[in-house]
Assembly symmetry: C2
């Protein structure tokens, strides 16, 4: 008796055919017996299964954000922002704040860029961050490099940043590279910006995000990007770098330097991450939904701003509120409240059908220990399940973003693969229900499923195998010499860094850049 | 302008009132300004937000399970099981298998015990494991004690088991104690069973689960329990110990010794965990939903069995399939596939409105490292969000259940608190949306939320603070002497074990038991 007949008989045709359909989440055909190597997980799998906010809650957040923009608005605008925003229909009030009429925000939402690709230097790294598609990546502005050999926190450098980019380039489950640390030895802003950009784009061909110190420091950076792309038009066509822009100092105040950079990036065709990084209980309301509401309002203000400069310019809704430990006011990025805030932010981006980016994978722990593992896991898996398009900070970070650890990229890569496998969900089909396989196994032998066709078929298509994490028996562990996770991560890291430097940027172009910019790593 | 007026104006009355309602998940009133100490999380908070199976999928699993019970049934029944089950309407086929007509299973489902309390020795530890209420607890049959000081795996003992019970008794977020290890020094089965039981019930007043080796070893254990309870009637009224019973050797075969114990426990008024511990790809189908289907079929067979002995006897649907690493056949309890299997099992228990128990929080790592942290976290948080009533193995286990680590209970306790905080979800109300607070803060000062009424109000009601995990700044970390998570856990463990032995069992009763049983710890 074929399984679909059994199912049709017992479930009824409608339900059987519903059951026979693969889970929407998996996005795959119901055929299980065909192994498809390296397709167990990939960047961009659709999440959205976890919805901490109801539709009514999302509507309430949206309306509250509109009310805030209308009645409170944004303080501290630059003259240029005043000109651009009042030109688009915003009002300058007598406190010097920009107020946003509801209709202006709604018109912006109607015309804002949607479903835009974020490009890698290599096409295989292009991202499609829309709907509930999930990508995990890095970010941050760590000032400490975690030195695991000496159990200490050192200064971050351009060299460490370049190493981070090279490591991330090799990590299957880290899909983009936003600059995670500050090259502290570079006090000259021009040097800082050019080295940060070049260390990132030289180290990895994945999509890069970075920020720029001031408007005037961007020009050389844009020239470098045009040179790498083979001309400005090429870069505009496929911008493989986006700008991470903290245009707001929460609550509801413009950051003037960043606004200058935002205007330049927008005019230069560079996608902008509109980053609102409040901290619940400090610079944002302590309530989870209040922090989300404020961040949504701030990012919508940024969206109006960008669309007033270039309608339809690609922007990422960077609702990125952090959490405070309310006893001390210190940030706690590894808290469970952070997991909920980030997931709720992911829902709001989907509410608008805009590309959203939020933070997960932060830990408060100083080291890659069990606390780091569990804090990173529950924040990252829920960000994925909530369908956050761009999960920033998802790997490598410690000490609530003050520290970055190169070995942790390698440890976290397995965790992110597991998170994505969970996002992929459960495949349900008549074959997967396995009634016939179970019956045959029990009634005709061999009484187990080892080596069965189904088992072999699913081995490479539905089961994910970690690259660094171990599944040894206690006996094998002893035989291996009990190497720690950290020592194995370091070994892998050293192998990557001892290998060839990536050459996705042709050597001649590298040489030109290194001759013409003050490259320090 | 009051926030509810704003909301009523902007959201419309229906949506505003929907938004004003507290999230169903939180189960709390919308008032945020009243801190309620120690109520941030508690055992039994309702999950159910994560649903990897659709309703059609659940129906398909149910129908497939009924088909299996009808057409394949259960092999290897004892004569007593044959008598009991055929007496209830099951059929013995010519292969010697018990087949279950669909109507028999459906009648059992109609009359099975629902919404029964699992008692602790202290009333504060009573569990209400129904609906999507979530409790985290221990379980397992580890044979190795992880010795973190010597980085080695030693033999488990009755003494270690007693220590584990004492530690768990102190852990806020571990809600029940099922025996997690085997007292390996005890080769006499009677000694093993009585010591295992007594170490558990003496060490903690939380609900205890344990298993018994054989039917004949149970009698002394029941006498002990009646003595502690002050008589058999008292124990039957409030059975504070349930029996973990592996009545099935998957696929679909009875375990004869366990069936003997099951019959005794049922007649003795002891709740039974009907434990089906197949392993996907080995003793269960490799497909996630196939493994769930087989486990559901097996547990329903157990449910028919129990209800044929004593209709309405409390039973926990222990759909507890594990995952294999299909490359080696070894178990991988820390895999992402395990997280999905467990979550799907939780949904099936809710489908039947039966109490369900499944496994999460297992790690493949040998030690409490980052791998252990992330594997435990994603499995536990999804078990909670799926509304698994009894999350077994949620703390302490390593090496895919072969190892147990006492320090890990203390580390994992914080993780489980965070998982429960996530299960609690996001509170949404007009106050929480915080429009008025944001407006006032921006327009009238102070421009931040530190020390605001809302912040202080939420500090003890919505924010969870870990007990062991650290949130130091890098500077504070150095000042503290950089103590590792493991060393801090050991310190706490030693403090607990150096403290007084629990006396929920009066000393006179302890003395009587220790004089009359071969107690070895």
């Amino acid at each position: 008796m074929a399984q679909d007949q059994i199912l049709a008989a017992v479930v009824g045709n409608d339900e059987a055919s519903a059951a026979a359909r693969p889970s929407r989440r998996s996005g795959r055909k119901g055929k299980l017996a065909t192994p498809r190597k390296s397709d167990v997980v990939r960047g961009g799998m659709p999440g959205g299964q976890f919805k901490p906010l109801t539709p009514a809650h999302q509507q309430a957040v949206h309306q509250a954000a509109l009310t805030l923009l209308e009645t409170v608005g944004m303080g501290n605008p630059t003259p240029s922002a005043v000109e651009i925003l009042t030109g688009a229909g915003a009002k300058l009030d007598d406190r010097g704040r920009i107020r946003f009429p509801r209709a202006l925000v709604e018109d912006t939402l109607a015309k804002a860029a949607r479903h835009f690709v974020l490009h890698g230097q290599k096409e295989q790294h292009h991202l499609e961050p829309w709907g509930s598609n999930v990508y995990y990546g890095t970010a941050g502005a760590a000032v400490h490099l975690v030195d695991l050999e000496n159990n200490s926190y050192e200064d971050t450098t351009a060299d460490a940043l370049f190493k981070a980019a090279r490591i991330v380039d090799e990590m299957d489950n880290i899909h983009f590279f936003q600059r995670p640390m500050v090259a502290r030895e570079l006090s000259d802003l021009q040097e800082l910006d050019t080295n940060t950009l070049y260390a990132s784009i030289k180290g990895t061909s994945k999509h890069v995000g970075t920020s720029f110190c001031e408007a005037w420091t961007m020009q050389q950076c844009l020239e470098m990007l045009h040179y790498v792309a083979g001309g400005e038009e090429n870069f505009r066509k496929r911008p493989f770098v986006s700008q991470s822009n903290c245009f707001v100092v929460p609550p509801l105040t413009f950051a003037q330097e960043a606004c200058g950079c935002l205007e330049i990036a927008t005019r230069a065709g560079m996608p902008v991450l509109l980053l609102s990084a409040g901290q619940a209980g400090a610079t944002a309301p302590a309530s989870i939904v209040g922090a989300v509401t404020q961040a949504v309002a701030e990012c919508l203000a940024g969206l109006v701003y960008i669309n007033a400069i270039v309608p339809g310019h690609p922007a990422i809704l960077g609702t990125w509120p952090f959490v405070s430990d309310l006893r001390t006011g210190a940030m706690s990025g590894g808290s469970p409240e952070q997991a909920l805030i980030t997931a709720a932010c992911g829902q709001m981006a989907q509410f608008y059908d805009l590309t959203g980016g939020s933070a997960a994978g932060i830990t408060d722990s100083k080291l890659p220990d069990a606390q780091a593992g569990y804090e990173k896991a529950y924040t990252n898996v829920l960000a994925g399940l909530a369908g956050v398009n761009m999960v920033y900070e998802s790997a490598g970070m410690h000490a609530s973003l003050l520290g970055v650890c190169l070995e942790s990229y390698i440890i976290d890569n397995d965790m992110l693969g597991a998170c994505m496998r969970i996002v992929k969900g459960v495949e349900v089909s008549p074959e997967a229900l396995a009634v016939e396989v179970i019956a045959t196994t029990c009634l005709e032998g061999p009484g187990h499923y080892l080596g069965s066709d189904m088992t072999l078929g699913l081995m490479e298509s539905e089961y994910l195998y970690p690259k660094l994490a171990e599944r040894w028996s206690p006996k094998e562990w002893v035989e291996q010499g009990k190497p720690s996770l950290i020592s194995r991560a370091r070994e892998r890291m050293e192998a990557i860094l001892a290998g060839p430097v990536p050459q996705h940027i042709p050597l001649a172009i590298q040489a030109h850049i290194e001759a013409n910019y003050p490259i320090k790593f």
